[in-house]
Amino acid sequence: MAAKRVSSLLLSRSFTSSLASRLTGGKSACQARAISRYSTAAALEEPIKPPVNVEYTKLLINGQFVDAASGKTFPTLDPRTGEVIAHVAEGDAEDVNRAVAAARKAFDEGPWPRLTAYDRQRILLRFADLVEKHNDEIAALETWDNGKPYEQAAKIEVPMFVRLMRYYAGWADKIHGMTVPADGPYHVQTLHEPIGVAGQIIPWNFPLLMYAWKVGPALACGNTVVLKTAEQTPLSALYVTKLLHEAGLPSGVLNVVSGFGPTAGAALCSHMDVDKLAFTGSTETGKIILELSARSNLKPVTLELGGKSPFIVCEDADVDNAVELAHFALFFNQGQCCCAGSRTYVHERVYDEFVEKATARALKRSVGDPFRQEIEQGPQVDSEQFEKILRYIRAGVDSGATLETGGDRLGEKGYYIKPTVFSNVQDDMPIAKEEIFGPVQSILKFKDLDEVIRRANSSRYGLAAGVFTQNLDTANRLMRALRAGTVWINCFDTFDAAIPFGGYKMSGQGREKGEYSLKNYLQVKAVVTPLKNPAWL
C-alpha cells in the first residue's frame, strides 16, 4: 500500500479501450470523451482463470482444519462474475467456543507465551519467509476473493504483509516496562504482560493486511488469538495461517473462524473468556461490538472504523499533481478504503481546472478483470456494496451535485462500477457526509483555510486527511488543525509498518501499526517492593 509505489505503478501506463461508455451529464463530458474511455472489454470478456486452487475452506481450530459444528457452509463469490469460488465452513457460536477454548488453553498452559520472545520472533520470521515464497498464489487468492487488481495484491499487499510480520517479529524481544521513581523507599517496576486471548475481527477490503495489523502485534506480545475473517473474503487467511503453523506456531495459538458478523462475530464479542477485542469495519458494527463487550466481560476494544476523509487541494497547488494524488486517494482499491480521500476540497482559484482534469483522469482509469495486467480497478467486493454505491450515486444526482463522469455500472456481469466524479458537491449532501466505500469522488469548492478547516472537521469521522500544498506555513497550520488520526501532506495512503494508524472521533479508538499497536495487546502490572537503606531514590 505504499502510496509512492502504488501511484507510480498506476501512473506509468496509458490505456486504450475498445468500447466507449455512455456518459451522462457533466460539463466536460464531451471533452473528456475525446481524451479516453473506460476499458469495458475485460468486464465483458470471459474472466481469466485464477492461477491458484482453493485448498483450505474449513475452520482452523487448535491447529486442525475442521468442519463447522453445524456442518453448514456458505459460498464465497467471485466479484467478477458473482459465481461461487468455494463453499466455506460457516462458523457459529459453538465453533467460536471451541476456538476460544483452544486459545485459552494455549495461553494458560501452552508453550506460546512461555517461549522466549526470541523464539516467538523466529517463528514469525519463518512465517514471513513462507508467505514470501508463496507470494503469487496468495495474491491470486486475494484477487479472486476480493476483486482487487492482481498486480496490487502481488506487488504491494503480500510484500507489505511480509514486511509487517518481520516488523512485529522484531518487536517481540523489545517489549519493555519501566522502573519507576517512588515517593519513598520502594523499588517499583512495571511488567508489560500479554493480555491473554485476543478476539480479532477483520474486514474484506484488505484481508491480508488487516490480518497482519492484528495478528502481528498480538502474537509478538505473546497472546493467543481467535480471528474471524469477513464472510466476503475468507480464503487468504486460511491459506497463510496454514503456513504460520508450518513455521512452527503451536496449536491453538491462532484459530481462524470463517463466518458472519451477527453469529460468529457476535459470539466472539460476547465471549466471557476472550480478554481483548480488536475490530476493523464500519462504525455501525463498531458500536455493536463495543456494546457486546460492555455487556459481557468489559474486554478492552480496539476499533478502526469508517471515515469520510478530506483531501484538501490548496491555492498554491500544482493542479496536475494534485489531480493525480486526489484520484489515487479516492479510487485506490476500488474506493474501498476506510481512509479514502472521499471529500476532495479544492480551492476556488484552481477549482475549475481541477474538476476538468479530475474528470479526465477518472475517464482514463482502466477498469476490468483484475487478473488482467495494467488494470487499475476491478469489481466491487459484492452485490451489497455494489448496490449501495449505486444508491449513493443516485442520491448524489438527486441532491443536485453535478455528475461529471461515470455514475453507472460497467458491463453486464460482476460488480464493476464506472469511476465516478461529482462536482458542485455541498457539505450537507449524503455523498459528502456518508461513507460510500466505492469509486465515487466528491469535489467541493472552498475559499480560505479557516473555512476548509471548519468544513473538513465537521464530520463525525476523523480517520485521515490529505493536504496538498508546497507552502510550509499552510502545511503546518493544517497538520495541527485537522482532527484526524493521520495527516498525509503531499502524499496519501503511505502505510509504513512503523506509522501508527487509527481514528479520531467516531472513526475508532486505539492505534494499529508502529510501536503504539503493542499497547493494544499488553497489560501493565505494577510491582512494588520496599527498599532498605537505598543508596539513592
Binding site: T179, P181, D183, G222, T469, N471, L472
Partner: protein, 505 residues
C-alpha cells in the same frame, strides 16, 4: 537595592542604573562562603567602562579539592540523592521562586559583569533560568528505567542512577542560563556538583549558590569555585573523584577538558563548543522577515553566542534585495550602554575578546572581503564594537571558517539548494542552522541535510526548555536542555535475576 545613576559619564543622564551592592565574592563550599586557601583574589571588570566591580576569591586546585570532598560526602552519605524525587522537586521549585524574587538584582549583576542588555536579562534570561530549574524540578520524579525482555528465564530491569559528583564549567556569555541548564538537571538526577563559572562573570553563580542554600539544598550538594580555567578548571577536569564533567566553551578548551578527563579517571564528558552556524536564505523568503532574523541571528548578545548565525548564505534571486534591506535595518541597530533600554548591543565581555574581534575584522579586509557596514570600535570607553557586515566573503577566508564570537556577519551568495547544503556543511562545526523558506520541500530536505544539532526553520534562536541542544562534529557532544539534557547525569545499571515457572516470558 537603590535605583540611581551610577555616575558613568558615558551613559545618557536619563538612564537610571541600579547599582547593586556586591554581596557574594567568596567561594561557596559545603554551604559556606569561604576565602580561597591561598587567600588570592582576582578582579572582575565592568566591560562598559573597564572599571573594577569587585575582588573575587580565586579558587585553585586546593579549593577544588575541598569542594569535591564536600560534594563527594554529600553524594555518598548525604540526603540529596536519597530524597525521593518529589522532595528534590519541592526544593528546586523553591530555588526557582527565589530566583524570580531576586530578578532585578540578578539582572543587574549580569549586565555589569557581562555587558548584557539589562532589559533582556530582566525579562528573559533570569526568568529563563528560573523556568529551566522548574522544568527539571518537574523531571525529578519522572526518571524511569525499563524492565527488559530477556532472552532466557531472567527478570531484567535497568536503574537510571545519578552519576555522582559532577563538575560543571560554564562560560561567560550566558552565565545565568548556562548555570540553570547545567545545575538544574544534575540536581534533579540527584547528583552533587562543583560549578566553576567563567572568571569574566563570577557574580551571578555565587548569588545562585546563596539562593540554593536558602531554598534548602543541603550543604555540599552545590559548590561554586570561582577562578580560572588553567587552574580551577583544569583541577576539575582532571579530578579523580569527579564522576562526570559538563563543559560549555570553546572547542580548543573542550579538547583540553577531554584530554584531562582521559588522562585522569576517564570520566565521561559532555561538551558544548564553538560554532560557525549558517543561515540559509532561499529566494522565496520574505525579505523583511529574514533580514531581521539574520541580523538578530548574528548580532544578538553582541555576537557572543555559540550558535550565532555568522555565515549568512543568500540565494542569488533575493541577494540584492536582502543587502538593501540589511543596510536599512543595520543603520537602526543601536550600540550603547546595556542599561539603556534603547540599546540593541552592549560592550563585548572583555579586552581579550574585543581585541580578538577587531583583529578578525582586519583579517576580513585583508583577505579581500568587502566591508559592507561597520568595522570600527565604538566611540565609548568600554569594549564596544560596531555591528559589522562583510560581503563577497569566500568560503575559505578566515572569517568564514573561524568562530569570531562578535558582532560580525559574513554574507555569501549561492545558486542552488544542493550548493547551499554543501557549503553550509563545509565546516568543522555543527551547532545550529537557520533555514529561511516557505517551500515545504526545501525545508524538509535542508533540515535533514545540515549536519548540526539545531535547525531553525523560519526562526532563529528557538531555544526551549524541552528542546535538546548540542553539537555535531567539533561543536561537541551530549545535549543540554530537554529530557536528553537530564540523561547525561544518569548512569544505567542493568539488574538481572532468575525467574522460575513464569507464565510468560
Amino acid at each position: 537595592m537603590a535605583v540611581q545613576s551610577n555616575g558613568n559619564g558615558s551613559l545618557d543622564s536619563r538612564v537610571k542604573v541600579p547599582v547593586p551592592q556586591i554581596k557574594f565574592t567568596k567561594l561557596f563550599i559545603n554551604g559556606e562562603f569561604v576565602d580561597s586557601v591561598s587567600g588570592k583574589t582576582f578582579q572582575t571588570i565592568d566591560p562598559r567602562n573597564r572599571e573594577v566591580i569587585a575582588e573575587i576569591a580565586e579558587g585553585n586546585k586546593e579549593d577544588v579539592d575541598l569542594a569535591v570532598k564536600a560534594a563527594r560526602e554529600a553524594f555518598d552519605n548525604g540526603p540529596w540523592p536519597r530524597l525521593p524525587g518529589f522532595e528534590r522537586r519541592k526544593i528546586m521549585m523553591k530555588f526557582a521562586d527565589l530566583i524570580d524574587e531576586n530578578n532585578e538584582e540578578l539582572a543587574t549583576l549580569e549586565t555589569i559583569d557581562a555587558g548584557k542588555l539589562f532589559f533582556l536579562c530582566k525579562i528573559m534570561e533570569i526568568p529563563g533560568a528560573a523556568e529551566t530549574i522548574r522544568y527539571y524540578a518537574g523531571a525529578a520524579d519522572k526518571i524511569h528505567g525499563e524492565t527488559l525482555k530477556m532472552s532466557t528465564a531472567l527478570q531484567g530491569y535497568t536503574l537510571h542512577e545519578p552519576v555522582g559528583v559532577v563538575g560543571h564549567i560554564i562560560p561567560w556569555n550566558f552565565p545565568s542560563q548556562m548555570f540553570a541548564m547545567k545545575v538544574g538537571p544534575a540536581l534533579a538526577a540527584g547528583c552533587t556538583m562543583v560549578v566553576k563559572p567563567a572568571e569574566q562573570t563570577p557574580l551571578s553563580a555565587l548569588y545562585y549558590a546563596h539562593l540554593a542554600k536558602l531554598a534548602g539544598i543541603p550543604d555540599g550538594v552545590l559548590n561554586v569555585v570561582t577562578g580560572f580555567g588553567q587552574t580551577a578548571g583544569a583541577a576539575i577536569s582532571s579530578h579523580t573523584d569527579i564522576d562526570m564533567v559538563s563543559f560549555t566553551g570553546s572547542t580548543e578548551v573542550g579538547r583540553l577538558v577531554m584530554q584531562a578527563a582521559a588522562t585522569s579517571n576517564l570520566k565521561p564528558v559532555c561538551l558544548e563548543l564553538g560554532g560557525k552556524s549558517p543561515i540559509l536564505i532561499f529566494d522565496d523568503a520574505d525579505v523583511d522577515k529574514v533580514t531581521e532574523l539574520a541580523l538578530q541571528g548574528t548580532l544578538f548578545n553582541k555576537g557572543e553566542i555559540c550558535v550565532a548565525g555568522s555565515r549568512v548564505f543568500v540565494q542569488e534571486g533575493i541577494y540584492d534585495k536582502f543587502l538593501l534591506k540589511l543596510k536599512e535595518k543595520v543603520k537602526n541597530w543601536v550600540v550603547g550602554d546595556p542599561f539603556d533600554p534603547t540599546s540593541h548591543q552592549g560592550p563585548q565581555v572583555n579586552k581579550k575578546q574585543y581585541d580578538r574581534i577587531l583583529s578578525y575584522i582586519e583579517l576580513g579586509k585583508k583577505e579581500g572581503a568587502t566591508l559592507f557596514h561597520g568595522g570600527k570600535p565604538g566611540d565609548r570607553k568600554g569594549y564596544y564594537i560596531e555591528p559589522t557586515i562583510f560581503t563577497d566573503v569566500t568560503d575559505e577566508m578566515t572569517i568564514a571558517q573561524e568562530e569570531i564570537f562578535g558582532p560580525v556577519m559574513s554574507v555569501f551568495k549561492f545558486k542552488t539548494v544542493e550548493e547551499a547544503i554543501k557549503r553550509a556543511n563545509a565546516t568543522k562545526y555543527g551547532l545550529a542552522a537557520g533555514v529561511m523558506t516557505n517551500d515545504i520541500n526545501i525545508a524538509n530536505t535542508v533540515a535533514r541535510s545540515i549536519r548540526a544539532g539545531a535547525i531553525w526553520i523560519n526562526c532563529y534562536f528557538a531555544f526551549d526548555r524541552d528542546s535538546p541542544y548540542g553539537g555535531y562534529k567539533m561543536s561537541g557532544f551530549g545535549r543540554d536542555m530537554g529530557m536528553d539534557g537530564l540523561k547525561k547525569y544518569l548512569v544505567v545499571k542493568a539488574v538481572a535475576t532468575p525467574i522460575y515457572n513464569s507464565p510468560w516470558l
